[in-house]
Symmetry: D2
Subunit: 147 residues, 4 copies
């Protein structure tokens, strides 16, 4: 990554206000890879009093977004699928890892796993990204999902 | 729905603290169907300054959970897939509709669409629910995803 | 559709030798929409002696391919998901319907439903297509999935 | 696996007439894991003259079915998603590997990768199986997808 790309990526991550609001923290990143953490707060539960699928998805989505945008080109999600495997406890710290399975000129496929710190599998996802021709953060507010 | 079922469902929806925190409101519900709304607040954006996929997913997930649990039996999500179709503006109100496509003894398939108030399609999802034998809210805190 | 587009589409459908081998027949088509049928032959079963998921998928995939290529531009599948809902009998005729849920410059989302002639729901799918810039059938044998 | 389980699994695989018809061969198997191969014959192409998505799916589905039924309990697919990554040539031998990502009392999640013999990634899938209480092949022809 060039200096410019690093700055764009830092701005991209800072700009993710929803992840920041949930307390998601980035643990590690490089082009095509990211790892992030979220501690399940008591207000992040669903009606069954279990960690909310939306919070788990958001954590994985953040790792996905960092991994695919870390190539320095604007990438947006086309599709994601999530499989819920077991249930974490409220208060636990969840770790999402995003790894690139494939990268072509216009798309990228990423696999995300969400586990507890103890290694229990909570969810597994696939995410397909569309890669625009524009450098990351060059679009500003005019970005649409697929130009 | 019986009186008991209605009370359990009301408790279930009240218990969804993550949805409440985001300001998600239920517009309509019956067994197998639900409609809910979320206004995209400025803090619900991703690094591209667009409505966060995690917020859109959470809205759809809430409608899904209400629709499948409204049968009065505890239902949990096995899998969901989301396809992002276009981009809403920050400040817009999004509407998610969950409709039952299929119901068998142990599973249910639901389709969710997320649109703006003006009818622009933002996302489309499928959700597969696993239906436990226990009545809704009978499990309390011992609920695991699939017993 | 122009004369040229019609001819390209006819060549495209004739060229689908796998669908032809299974006996899949096209019932109806227009840009963004298609309906096709497959009778489940005794050799199209899986180890449980049920209609094979692969045969059901192929039927839906054919309807999807026709619907998205009928716009006259080369379209290839990026992702598909299939949800199996109930079980057809061997010998039954299955109908797949593909309908466009969304179309943007570069992608299209289609929903496919597979039912028996009596209307029993067998499977439901989503398919995301990538739309190339080249007209249908202009690529010949040099086509790659996403150029 | 007991002697009985081995016999049931052999019968299960022999019974997959659709896989046999396509020439799919099993390369390796154990509970939770399977590897199978398919050579793309000239009649297995789609309208773009590329290996048909339905044939690729069927190969992965076969590996998935063997892997999850090899536990000795009847398992049926609930959902599968497939992501197409690159394009193989007609005549190439494709290898599908199915590996168990998670196993609970009632469900199992499997990940399938389809590659060429040279290791090029062609497709990646997730499959969610529902595990019935009955031993494999005990149901005979009365099997329904989810009892």
């Amino acid at each position: 990554m060039s200096q410019t790309e690093r700055a764009a990526l830092a701005a991209f991550m800072r700009g993710d206000k929803f992840a920041a609001r949930l307390g998601i923290e980035l643990l590690e990143m490089r082009p095509g890879y990211a790892r992030a953490a979220l501690t399940v707060e008591p207000h992040m539960v669903n009606g069954h009093n279990l960690p909310h699928g939306g919070a788990i998805f958001t954590l994985a989505d953040f790792a996905f977004a960092v991994a695919c945008n870390a190539h320095g080109r604007t990438a947006v999600a086309l599709s994601m699928d999530i499989h819920f495997l077991s249930v974490a406890a409220v208060g636990e710290k969840l770790i999402a890892e995003a790894a690139e399975e494939n990268l072509s000129r216009r798309t990228g496929l990423y696999r995300m796993t969400v586990t507890t710190e103890a290694g229990q599998k909570i969810a597994e996802l696939h995410g397909m990204a569309y890669r625009k021709k524009t450098p990351l953060m060059a679009d500003g507010k005019t970005l649409t999902r697929i130009k």
